[in-house]
Structures are given as structure tokens and as C-alpha cells.
Symmetry: C2
Subunit: 255 residues, 2 copies
DNA sequence: CGGAGCATTGAGTTTCGTCAAGGGTTGTGG
DNA sequence: CCACAACCCTTGACGAAACTCAATGCTCCG
């Protein structure tokens, strides 16, 4: 496995009481699916914050679902310029591109300590052959990722620095709310485990300019920047600033 | 069907002699798959240049594969700012997001006269249930689209205007070469049916700045701008300017 | 013949990047 | 326990990149 700074463990959490099922956002499995998934899952994997989970160019034999923690997908140019493509949260499927297309063309790094379910790439055929509903779900997940990338592309291409920042933070806060602890209520502030460097590399801006832009949002009391992370205080107004409509998601599938 | 300025026709081309199979880039069907696809295809659809094929917000009952012609996917902000997300060429699957996730969140417009195969969205379940290999292909196609978006995101976020333009034109020329007429050889100039407005809206630049940037590429004799389109004269050097490695694709699936 | 769309160019302005410097916190090793 | 390095956030000054406004010529089409 191409992993830096992480540990490969045996299964700790049984799929039967998968913590993701406790969350509102996700749809449940049928007994049949549950039994297949339990069998499909070959292990569990934990990574420290900062660990590289998948690296560009690798031909990984594995596919992951995030159980706990945050991470991000990114690409780098030869001279070191980095672009963060998207964030991965609990429920995200990681490494699908590598599994289907052969080679990873982006890396995945942990933002916080993470726990991931490990699936074997070779058994994907089995999934498609014997569990069409799950195969459909995989495609669904891929289509959803595509939709998020579409949104992000619109943002980077056509929104101003202020709008972009507002969009990113609103979108992440919303994703966090849905996949996060259910005790977080709609109005409560959400904590995002990212630095301003991450924001800059996500939005295609310099760190300096990002800082000045975030300050404007903080001055309006929409966010507060902490130690090593961002507290989102008003998702609704952020979405308004961005000219973005909050999506409504429910019954979302995962593996 | 939510279509402007197009005609819905009965089937003209039998899947048996699908023109896409004649091209190097695509993989062939098994007889079994071929018979299913022939049955899955419910019609054929032609659109004029400039026609809107799918519109943001629509719940289309259809899914398409491009048989002939070029188009593009795009989103617009309230005030009219437009972002082109990706281009669709022969072999591209159109409308998957709408079919799986419910509602289209982007529009698709024809760039040239187009011909598309029409599939019925409701029969996708059947495809997943009875043809796992085709289901796998659909997912493969979605993962490939995701990869293209990743590249594009890197480009817009972190490449300079010159690099971006070079990347876009090289990538489109390469896609055109693979899906285009097989008589086009590797060294021959490729014609892209786009205007500078399209380039600008793809790269997140203004038309004026796009024009000045393209001029620099033209001055180096890498491209030539024509009437209503771009002639790409040197894909290799363009890719070098962009710091981009030309991908090698073969045996690509499609529906 | 007039209008619409496209490419082109120049001039002035805004946005954003680079450079530079300082302060705070964390973590590590002596 | 302290010194030091590494990382992160912040701010100001300056320069470069990109945008807007404006005007021109061209072709195609009704």
C-alpha cells in the first residue's frame, strides 16, 4: 500500500454498526447488501493528520471509504504550485479514479486524523456483477463528485475572491453539518479543520490575498478564524454573498 | 424533451454499424451488449449549432451519447457570468448527472450540428441489473469525466493565462484527434470549432485578455485563429508550454 | 443595407501576486 | 526547562496580471 505515516489495522468497526448509518444524511443498506459489504471490506486504516493516503502516479490495490476525519484531494505542477481539487469527509469514496482508470492522477492527504474502510479493488467486478444496486450507488457517488467539481469550477472561473471564499466556506460547512455529529444544529457554528493555505490552494489565490479576503468575511462576523481552523458562524449569509443556493441532500448512498 | 432548436428523429444509424466503432480509440461491444444497446437506444436526435440540448434545472427523461459534432457543458451565475465546464465530443455521455441525481445543474449546448443517440433514463436500472460490464463502463466514463475536471481545475486555479490557453487547446486537439476522423494524422493541424468567447469562458478570463494571450501562441506559430475556430498546429509544443503530459488512451468504453 | 457576432487593439483601472517583515503558537531537542 | 525551528496568521508597499471601457474592421445573414 502506498501510504506514508499511517497504520494499517485489522477491522475494528463492524459494518453492522457502521457509524455512518447513525447520521441523517445517509441511506441504509438492505441485509443482503450489508452482508456483501462486510465481506468486501478487507480492513481498516488510520492515518495521522498530514499523512499522504494516496499519491499521484500510484497504482493502488485499494479503494477507501472515509469513516472519520477530513482530508483533501490535490494535484501539483512541476514547480510546486498546488491545487486542491476537493475535500473528503466521512462517507466519501476515495481512490475510485485509480481503481477504474488504472493510475491515480491526484494525491489524497489527511487534514485531521482519519479512519478509512479498506476495500479491495479486484473485487469491484464482483460488486458490479452481483450487486447492481450498489454498483448504481458507486456511479451515483461519482456523479455527485462531478457535480461538486462543476460548482467549484464555476467558482474559481467566474466568482470574485470574496464570493469564492464565501462559497467554499459555506459549502464545506454544509457538508460538515450533514456528515458531522448530529448534535450540531442548523444555527450552530461549524468548525472546519483547514488553514488559510488550504483555502488559498483551493481557490487559486495567494495566501496573502486570501488572508485579506477572509478578513472581510470575519469583519462581517460571518466567520472567525481560529488557531488552526475556521469557525463558520453564518452559512446562510455566506451562501448569499456567493450567490449560491444551498443544496438539499438526503438518503445519500455510500459504501 | 427539453430541447430548443433541434429535431427528434427515429433511428437512422443502427448500433450494429455505429460510426464510433470505426475509430481507434473505442473498444468494441460483445454481441450480447450490442443487442442490449440496440434495445436501450430509443431514438436519435439532431441539433443545430447553438441549440440547447439540456438546460439547467430540467429533469430530463433522457440520456445521450454523442454520435457526431461538438458541444459543451456550462453553468451561469445570476448576473450572466458563464463558466464552460467541459466539452462533449463523439462518444461522450451526456446527461448522466441528471439521470442519477435527479436534476441537471448545468446546461449543454451544441457547438456544431450534432447527432446524439437517445437512451431512456428509466431503463438504466435494467442496464445495471442485467449488464454489469456496461454498468462498469458507465462508471468508468464518469470517473474519466472527473479526471478531466480535475485537470481543468488545476489549470484554472494554478496556471497562468498563457499556460491555461496552451493546455486547453492541446487537450481539445488531442481529444479531437482520438475521436475525430481517422484520416487526421498525428502531425496534421486539428480544427477546433470554438470562438474566443468560448475559450475565455472556459479559462475564466475576459475575452480581451484571451485574445491577447492567444495572439502570443499564434505568434509562435503554435495555433492559427480562423474565421470561427482555431487551427492547432503543434500540440506537442502547446503541451510543453502548459507543462502538461499528453495522456495515452485506448480501448475507451462508450454506450 | 443594417445588425449581429467575432476578432483586434489601445488606454486606464482594479484585482491580485510578490516581497518583506513581525508576532504568535507548537513542538522538538538539547 | 529553555532555545530554536517550523508553521501559521497578519499587514504594508509595490508591481504584475488581468479587467473594463472604447473603438474599429470584418463577415455573415436577413
Amino acid at each position: 500500500m502506498t501510504v506514508v505515516n499511517g497504520n494499517h489495522c485489522t477491522i475494528r468497526t463492524s459494518c453492522t454498526d457502521c457509524p455512518l448509518h447513525a447520521l441523517e444524511g445517509f441511506r441504509p443498506f438492505t441485509p443482503d447488501q450489508l452482508s456483501f459489504i462486510s465481506h468486501f471490506k478487507v480492513g481498516e486504516f488510520t492515518a495521522n493528520a498530514g499523512a499522504t493516503i494516496l499519491v499521484e502516479g500510484a497504482h493502488s490495490a485499494h479503494l477507501f471509504t472515509v469513516l472519520e476525519g477530513w482530508g483533501f484531494r490535490h494535484k501539483v505542477l512541476d514547480d510546486g504550485r498546488r491545487q486542491i481539487l476537493n475535500y473528503v469527509l466521512p462517507g466519501s469514496l476515495v481512490g475510485l479514479q485509480g481503481s477504474l482508470l488504472g493510475e491515480m492522477q491526484h494525491s489524497v492527504e489527511a487534514l485531521t486524523p482519519m479512519t478509512l474502510c479498506v476495500f479491495e479493488r479486484d473485487r469491484i467486478d464482483e460488486l458490479f456483477r452481483n450487486h447492481p444496486a450498489l454498483a448504481y450507488d458507486v456511479t451515483w457517488i461519482a456523479a455527485r463528485e462531478e457535480r461538486i467539481l462543476d460548482e467549484h469550477l464555476l467558482s474559481i472561473g467566474r466568482r470574485s475572491a470574496l464570493e469564492r471564499s464565501a462559497y467554499l466556506l459555506a459549502a464545506l460547512a454544509e457538508r460538515s453539518r450533514v456528515t458531522g455529529q448530529s448534535k450540531t444544529k442548523n444555527g450552530d457554528p461549524v468548525h472546519l479543520p483547514i488553514t488559510q493555505v488550504h483555502v488559498a490552494d483551493t481557490l487559486g489565490l495567494s495566501v496573502v490575498h486570501t488572508n485579506k479576503t477572509l478578513r472581510k468575511l470575519a469583519d462581517r462576523n460571518l466567520i472567525r478564524w481560529l488557531d488552526r481552523g475556521c469557525e463558520v458562524r453564518n452559512v446562510t449569509t455566506l451562501a448569499e454573498v456567493a450567490g449560491w443556493e444551498l443544496p438539499e441532500e438526503f438518503g445519500r448512498p455510500f459504501l
